[in-house]
């Protein structure tokens, strides 16, 4: 136990640096995923077939292949087409685009779960289609899709561990460095696992609960 405290004293700065990079990747990836999910969901629900088809193609490609493959493709193959991204950008771009495809289906499911009567009432009140979506449909859909988005954000946090494979210095990467230096695998990977667990269970989950609560209050349901 004392040896472990000594070990933590030595390597805490590395774990901390890694955790910060992981959080950055998670936040940027999440923002990208939310934007992309909204765009793709509305594209998939479009009545104009080329747009709908583009939305479906994006969703199926990113859901049908592995994140790791997508990340390597973005990092190693895109430069051949003249698009060179640094590893940090390539990392959260791949994570955001991948999870965004899953998020798009959540957005679509949420919007389609709003009762038909709400649409009809909005039309009867002569609301223009944009404010019908923005003021009536979307807030109710948001309340329905927040719990699955909470799970998706945990998936996103976990997915950022893969950016270490293109040498982004996140928590996973630092853990590998420490392991190479000390060979104390149980301590190193165990500590990293616990940090991930804390981020998921004590930051993301309560954060999402709080948002659900606030939204329900705003819609005066809760």
């Amino acid at each position: 136990m004392l040896a472990y405290i000594e070990y933590l004293k030595t390597y805490a700065p590395m774990f901390l640096n890694g955790t910060i990079v992981t959080l950055e990747q998670t936040v940027l990836g999440a923002l990208l995923a939310i934007v992309v999910a909204l765009i793709a969901a509305f594209m998939k629900m479009s009545s104009f077939f080329p747009i709908r088809w583009m939305g479906i193609t994006y969703i199926e490609i990113f859901r049908g292949t592995s994140l790791l493959v997508q990340m390597y493709w973005i990092f190693f193959v895109l430069p051949l087409f003249g698009i060179t991204l640094d590893k940090f950008t390539a990392g959260f771009l791949a994570v955001g685009l991948n999870l965004g495809a899953y998020g798009a289906e959540l957005v679509r499911g949420g919007i389609q779960a709003v009762p038909k009567g709400q649409y009809e009432a909005a039309i009867a009140l002569n609301l223009p289609s944009v404010s019908r979506m923005r003021r009536i449909i979307f807030p109710q859909a948001l309340l329905k899709m927040l719990p699955p988005w909470g799970n998706l954000l945990i998936e996103l946090l976990k997915a950022t561990a893969l950016v270490s494979l293109i040498s982004v210095t996140d928590l996973m990467f630092e853990a590998k460095m420490i392991n190479n230096r000390t060979y104390l695998s149980a301590q190193t990977f165990g500590t990293a696992l616990i940090i991930y667990y804390i981020m998921a269970r004590f930051i993301i989950t309560p954060g999402m609960r709080w948002m659900e609560h606030r939204l329900a209050q705003k819609l005066s349901i809760g």
Binding site: G64, W73, S185
Partner: protein, 228 residues
């Protein structure tokens, strides 16, 4: 595309297809472990022993909220520290199997919870043993509830197998990386990996939907997807 070399593509294709078999095998073995261990984890949470169900519950939560790559590293590197040497394949299968077992236990749990209370009471009234209650009454009814979720994780485990390459399991992605490192050509191997994954996971998802309808039909329930 401008830099795509077809002769190179056909040269590496056989090797990639053999590696695909390894990927499928890894997914199959991992999923079999997950199906069995997941059921054990789900049933353990329903036992009257509070300590056991609490520990299993926490274990499932822990596994579900930490990254699979890190778990793979953990299993692979921690063994040797205590004198247990595991091959990449064995530790990979343990890690991926346990990870998905945690997910599947949640699917099983939802399935078991969906059985109406009356069914349990009827089993008590008929004096059925716990084993008979589960295997003859409860589990058969839970199966149609479980299949969609379990099917999604079958496709999920298949798409997560590239992570096994980090400890050197020679599956599809690892092979593509090896080819890229030898030839300095990444376009064809990585694109092929993507295409192979797409061409397997999309039909698999479609097949699972059919299968779900077939199970529901054979149990005399309403179909979900087919028109007829």
């Amino acid at each position: 595309m401008f830099d795509w070399k077809w002769d190179f593509t056909f040269e590496i294709l056989p090797r990639m297809l053999v590696a695909t078999l390894n990927t499928l095998m890894a997914a199959g073995i991992g999923y079999s472990i997950a199906l069995v261990v997941g059921l054990i984890l789900a049933l353990a949470q329903r036992t009257p022993y509070r300590v056991l169900s609490f520990c299993v519950r926490e274990f499932v939560e822990f596994v579900r909220s930490t990254p699979l790559v890190l778990q793979i590293f953990f299993v692979f590197y921690v063994g040797p520290q205590f004198g247990i040497r595991l091959s990449p394949w064995v530790s990979g299968m343990i890690a991926i199997g346990l990870h998905y077992a945690a997910y599947l236990s949640e699917v099983y749990r939802a399935g078991l919870d969906s059985i109406p209370q009356g069914q349990w009471e009827a089993c008590v009234a008929l004096n059925l043993s716990t084993k008979r209650t589960y295997f003859r009454i409860v589990i058969p009814q839970a199966i149609p509830v479980v299949i969609p979720g379990a099917g999604n994780y079958l496709v999920g485990i298949f798409k997560d197998t590239p992570m096994l390459s980090v400890i050197g399991v020679m599956e599809l992605f690892h092979t593509a990386t090896a080819i890229g490192a030898n030839t300095y050509r990444f376009l064809e191997p990585y694109t092929l990996v993507g295409l192979i994954f797409l061409s397997l996971s999309l039909p698999a998802a479609m097949f699972l939907r059919r299968f779900e309808d077939w199970v529901r039909a054979s149990l005399g329930m309403k179909k979900l997807y087919s028109k007829d």
